[in-house]
Symmetry: C2
Subunit: 212 residues, 2 copies
DNA sequence: CCCTGTGAAACAGTTCACAGCG
DNA sequence: CGCTGTGAACTGTTTCACAGGG
């Protein structure tokens, strides 16, 4: 079963809304209701659920609990899947906070930094190792996802080391375009690029609105 | 001139590489060279430059300085464009650091928080106001982009207030799907969703690799 | 009726392939 | 030749529209 990128993103959103919906006392949901919650179209919801092989009933819609379970099966980490975070600065710290909470589906198995005042301390609820120990620590407690929140110049070498240590996907917060072997999935999160993009479209859409 | 989303993202990448290329002493660049740097195809580079109306020469390729200038004209903020950041916690602080640096194209005109120990202090190089003053401060120094790094429950009301205060685009770091009037551009950056997605594809691609 | 499931159409984005030119 | 510029083909995604069923 091949599931496209965008569908995976929406599934996670669907699941969040389904949990709220269930908490609000509903056992069933129609495609147009779920679409409203997620900001999608009913057809897209039905197509997505078809893609993952979940079927509802024309009379009652989709079973909320069953659908959440079905999405869980797709998104839930397998046993032993965890995150290695490299770079425990402000951004890394914010992410560590994030995955320290109980609501987190994934957990951080190891955090690394190079700064002496962070190494071998507990930073935002996670023990921080020296990057020198990266290979040794990940040999003990493997990780499948690596998060890079380091300065630009450190990104490529660390990405290479993470992949060599068995990481299969990277979330890259640096502006560097990483070179990785085929089969390693990289998602770039570039905040300055995002702001630039939002500013551009805010600008053009404002102009268009003013023209009306 | 209508420029799609993805093209804007790549333009920013092109510009970065063009600056390096220029610093390395080159005055011209061919589409396949720029494509290599950005991880795109030569055809895509040529198509993107066609979209923004920049032309090169078959003999010499594209003029590096001219192209950077052309991209600047598209992405450069107009006078008075700035960022309002709401939520000066760890994530907000990391972003404030980011836009405090000299390399930033955009700058933060105001940071807001609700916590007494942050309000009226300088947080990560930026004066932090109380969210109560949001309307008053943005009336003085308008912002075109709002960045939301607040807890989920605070996101929607603050988004509404930012838009009412004249913000035309939002970067939303919360998991909430914001309701905004038409014409306001929203970019969602959901870190837990991103990690989930990367984990999913790391998993499936590993499986596929093992099957070979 | 008003739903779901789904072929088929429409659309958007990317890549191909080649004319035209120095 | 090898490059750009671009119509045309292609690929992937979204939307339409309707058969089928309680």
């Amino acid at each position: 079963m091949v599931i496209p990128d965008r569908v995976i993103e929406r599934l996670s959103g669907y699941r969040r809304h389904l949990r709220d919906w269930h908490a609000a006392g509903h056992a069933q949901i129609f495609s147009h209701e779920l679409a409203n919650l997620e900001g999608a179209t009913p057809a897209q919801v039905r197509r997505d659920l078809m893609t993952i092989g979940y079927t509802g009933s024309p009379a009652r819609g989709y079973d909320v609990v069953g659908l959440v379970g079905h999405i869980d099966e797709i998104l839930k980490p397998e046993a032993g899947e965890g995150i290695a975070l490299v770079g425990a600065g402000h951004l890394g710290g914010a992410i560590l906070d994030y995955f320290g909470g109980r609501h987190a589906e994934y957990h951080v198995v190891a955090a690394f930094d190079i700064q002496p005042d962070r190494v071998n301390r507990v930073v935002h609820g996670h023990r921080c190792y020296s990057v020198d120990e990266l290979e040794a620590v990940l040999a003990e407690t493997p990780a499948t996802v690596g998060i890079l929140t380091v300065p630009a110049e450190a990104a490529q070498p660390l990405a290479t080391r993470l992949v060599a240590a068995g990481v299969g996907g990277l979330v890259n917060f640096t502006a560097v375009r990483l070179q990785v072997p085929p089969g390693v999935y990289v998602e770039n999160v570039d905040i300055s690029l995002t702001v630039e993009k939002v500013a551009f479209f805010a600008r053009t859409q404002r102009t268009r609105r003013e023209a009306l």
